[in-house]
Structure formats: C-alpha cells, structure tokens
C-alpha cells in the first residue's frame, strides 16, 4: 500500500468519525488536508470537484470517491470510499440495535441539541471556505450571490440553480 493510499485512508477515516451533521460540516477540514497539507489538488480544483459532486445525483458526499480517484485512480477511489463510509456505517449498525435503549433518555436530546450550533458553525465555515476558493471575479461573485439568494428565498431546484450558474459562467466568462 503506497503512502498516498495510507494518507487517503487516514484522512477519510478521521472525517468519517467526526462528520456530525453530515458531509458539509467536514468540507473545510477535507479541503485543508487535501489542498494545504497534502497538495494533491489546488484550491481551485477542489472547488471544481466539489461542484461536480454537487451536480451528480445521490448523497452529497460524492466528492470523497472523486478525490480518491483523482489522487490515486481506482485504488484511491476504493480506499477513500471504504475509509469514509465504513466507520460511520459500523457505528450506525451498532446504534440501530441499541436505539430502543437510548432513544428516550434525556441525555440523547441534550447531546443532539448541543451539536446543532456546532454543525451550523461548520456549515457556515464550509460556505466561506468554498466561496473564497471559487470566487475570483465580479462575475463569479454575482453568480454566488444570485444562486445563494435563489436557493435561500425560493423553492428553486438545486440542479436548476447549478445549471444557471454554469450557463452564466459559459456565456459571460469570456468578457
């Protein structure tokens, strides 16, 4: 097993175990490790890979196999997927069998409520990190602003919002 595969396994196992509130909460840490520590991709490429993963159907953690594949081909894809999905899945298997015992305990509601602001802070950090990495011009800033407004204030479909951004980039990017 190469050093790259071991690094992929370590990074995504760690992220798997601390991804409270879902994948978007660990995005800044993923970017820090993949871009700043390992230098596998640039911040620009990371944003593009994230955008690609958002444009694909399914769960929103599809950036994980994409990074694995980008860094180390098919074996990278396998290692990153197993590292990201296996540890949290083992916890889920274990927890579902114990759920009846701890569901109604008062500490469960307290812990869950306590994690809400933590997740909110992490999602806000994700938005900031990805925006800083993606916006290099007034046009791109306008696209981010308009799509954020559309998505926050209307019931616009996420795929339509992404399509609008891509189209605006294609049409006006050359100016």
């Amino acid at each position: 097993m190469s050093a790259t595969l071991i690094a992929l396994a370590v990074i995504f196992t760690e992220l798997s175990l601390i991804a409270f509130g879902g994948g978007n909460s660990v995005l800044p840490e993923m970017q820090r490790r993949v871009v700043e520590v390992q230098h596998w991709v640039t911040a620009d490429e990371f944003s593009a890979l994230f955008a690609l993963a958002q444009a694909a159907p399914g769960p929103n953690m599809m950036i994980v196999p994409l990074i694995g594949w980008h860094v180390a081909g098919f074996s990278g894809l396998l290692v990153s997927s197993v590292a990201k999905f296996l540890p949290s899945s083992l916890i889920a298997c274990f927890a579902v069998t114990l759920w009846d015992r701890f569901r109604d305990r008062p500490w469960r509601a307290v812990v869950q409520a306590g994690l809400v602001p933590v997740t909110a802070g992490l999602v806000a950090a994700s938005a900031a990190v990805i925006t800083v990495a993606s916006v290099h011009s007034w046009l791109l800033a306008a696209i981010t602003g308009v799509t954020a407004g559309l998505s926050a204030l209307t019931r616009a479909h996420p795929l339509a919002v992404l399509g609008l951004g891509a189209l605006a980039g294609l049409l006006f990017g050359g100016f």
């Binding site: 159907p57 769960p59 889920a92 806000a124 925006t131 981010t144 980039g169």
Partner: protein
C-alpha cells in the same frame, strides 16, 4: 390504536435484493437532498416503514456522524436483513452516484484546458458555493434568537474558516462545551 395497528400491518419486510434495488433507485433520483425522496420510497411507495418509524430512524441518523441518508440506508438494511442487508443498502445508494461522479470527473480532466469548459466549471463552482451559503443561512436561521448558540457558531467559524485549525481538535474542545451549554440551558 386501531389506526396504528393497520398501519403496521401494511408495512412489508424487504429482502436483500429489494434493499439493493430500492436504494439504487434512490441514489439515482435525489439531487442536493435525497431525504424527501427517501421518505417517499420507504414510507409511501414500498411501505418498508411507517411514517413514525421513518421519523424515529431519521432522529437516530441525525444523531450519528456521517451523512443522514447513508446512515439511514445502513440502519434500514441492518434492521431488516442484518449486516448483509446493510451492505446491500449502502452499495445500492452509492453505486450509481459514484459511477456518475467519476464520469463527470473524467470529462472535467479531459476538457478543463478548453476556455469554454473552464468558464462553465467556474460558474458551476460559484453556484455550488451559492448553494452552500443558502444552506448555511437555513441552518443558522433557527439559532438567531439564541445568543449562546450564536457564540458557539462564531467560535467554530473562527476556528475552522479563519484560523484553519484542525477539525478533530476543535471538535474535541467545542462539542463538549456546546453540549454542556445545552444541558445547563435545558434545566
């Protein structure tokens, strides 16, 4: 009680193959949020779970680390068919999206030097950032009237987005503080 009993009677226990195909279809359907689709598939269409069971299971999945929908596929598979069911479900949910995302990645790698493609992807990335900004707003909105929660939000934002501190260390400090705070306020 009679209502609930008849509701229970109508649920069907899926086999390993049904778990795989059910989640495979779900993986192909949802964009940017699979959860509403998941409810329709499991509660309304295939009748694996009652509405109450779905909500209860969602509560568990939100409590655990990892994506809600991935956790839910594993938990549902485990509940009905043990670890084989869990494996069939998670393979089902990630198989098609993984294949699609790799195809998109190959297209990006191949044509990224083309200026048109470059502009298209720059616009796509800016829109993906916009969706995250909107998501952050939606997650923050219920917390705006809770000063203690906002302090936690600000501290995490500062640590992760501004100072770029490692997440594991930050969580080990901030999660217990936040839980302790929520405990003190709930008494």
């Amino acid at each position: 009680m009679t209502m609930i009993d008849t509701d229970e009677d109508r649920t069907q226990r899926p086999g390993i193959g049904a778990l795989f195909t059910g989640f495979l279809g779900l993986g192909l359907m949802g964009f940017g949020g699979v959860l509403p689709m998941a409810r329709r598939m499991m509660v309304d269409d295939r009748r694996w779970l009652t509405a109450a069971e779905f909500t209860d299971l969602l509560g568990l999945c939100q409590f655990l680390p990892g994506g809600n929908i991935i956790n839910m596929s594993v938990a549902v598979g485990m509940k009905f068919q043990g670890w084989r069911g869990a494996l069939a479900s998670i393979f089902g949910i990630i198989a098609a999206p993984t294949a699609i995302v790799i195809c998109l990645g190959a297209i990006y790698d191949r044509y990224r030097q083309d200026p048109h493609v470059e502009h298209l992807f720059a616009g796509l990335a800016a829109a993906a950032a916009g969706l995250l900004v909107a998501l952050a707003w939606k997650v923050m909105k219920p917390l705006l009237k809770k000063p203690a929660a906002l302090v936690i939000v600000a501290a995490l934002f500062l640590a992760i987005a501004v100072l770029r501190l490692p997440l594991l260390a930050t969580m080990l400090v901030m999660a217990p503080i936040s839980i302790l705070l929520s405990w003190r306020l709930s008494r």
